[in-house]
Symmetry: C2
């Protein structure tokens, strides 16, 4: 579906940006990146086009492309939209999920619990990823899956960050239990409600985190 090198570069760049390799507002030098990847400017420029569409970078004509980290307000907005899409996923998955997927969900959740007990935020994070992706898939809507996964990727680093908040792991775990219960019961409304809250609270937590870090921000 994708160009060979341009695709590779786009993914690599996305990874680099999301992992915080570049400072906010920094300019991305086409030539330097091309040299770094061992290609010409063309595939780098194509990668820029894609990342600009997803909002990771901003292209200013005749000026260049710049790293664009969303501010606290925009992040809240993104989590807000994410919450709705997750809620929809849950509502659909509640009536469509297979027994096998339910078992996988329980397994991922078990791994999550063990990670919480071990205080291993990274392990929790990984299994949490798996947990949510199962729900996306079981919603049975290819389009929704694409949209929600796109936003999921975009919010990845921020979700990870807020997991560090004290007590958030345990709370998140409890929410997961509720989600599994609702899905197992086939209770669409409850699954939607719980998932919406589960995601929305992440946005709020993150907002708190930001506010405590830089009081004069935004």
């Amino acid at each position: 579906m994708e160009n060979r090198r341009a695709d590779t570069i786009a993914r690599a760049l996305e990874e680099m940006i999301l992992s915080g390799e570049f400072a906010e507002g920094a300019r991305l030098d086409e030539i330097r990146l091309a040299e770094r990847f061992g290609v010409s400017r063309t595939p780098v420029r194509e990668a820029f086009q894609r990342l600009a569409l997803t909002g990771l970078i901003e292209q200013i004509p005749r000026r260049g492309v710049f790293i664009r980290q969303p501010g606290a307000v925009e992040l809240m907005e993104m989590f807000e939209v994410m919450a709705e899409l997750e809620a929809l996923s849950g509502r659909l998955a509640a009536v469509r999920i297979s027994d096998g997927a339910l078992a996988q969900l329980a397994e991922a959740n078990g791994n999550c619990r063990r990670a919480v007990e071990a205080g291993d935020a990274n392990a929790y994070y990984d299994e949490n990823e798996r947990f949510h992706h199962i729900i996306y898939a079981e919603a049975g809507s290819a389009f929704l899956k694409g949209e929600v996964e796109r936003l999921h990727r975009r919010l990845k680093p921020y979700r990870r960050l807020q997991l560090r908040l004290r007590g958030r792991l345990a709370q998140s775990m409890a929410e997961h239990e509720e989600i599994v219960a609702a899905l197992s019961a086939g209770d669409a409304a409850r699954a939607a409600k719980v998932l919406r809250a589960h995601v929305a609270i992440q946005g709020e937590k993150f907002h708190h985190l930001l506010a405590s870090l830089k009081p004069a921000a935004e």
Copy 2:
């Protein structure tokens, strides 16, 4: 924010595709399009990149780009997601909308009513556009606005089509009245519910339309 010519071409191509200028599955010839627009292949290829991201075309490596019209199932899925985003817009707008915007909404709705009485589907369509865009804007979330407008554009031709269904205009009009009432009352839950139904029913109507047109489809 955009490249000069590549942006122009992307918009022109989007318009051409959405207006049904190309057949389903047709290949888009870079060279021919470049000649048609009077530019080289480069900006055309950049435009392709963008359209591929929005799902309008599909790029197959070393094969070319092809028109990709969503099938009935995918359209339903898209309307389903759209319904959630509209519902969120309504829920937020209900508590944030200004008096001025409410007046504009009432005005657009009045124009809609006159269009219905005149049986003018096109006029209704235009004012309907305005009506929804006001709600998107009044939700007060730049990110949500971007997402919902993107989907709105994508679904444009299909929404237009289903308006031709007998009785749909009057029904849609009644739904608009309810939406205005909910927003005026500041009733977030009701606004969300009505808007969700208003959009979801469009997907269903469209499905019926397709089913009646080609019984052996999908």
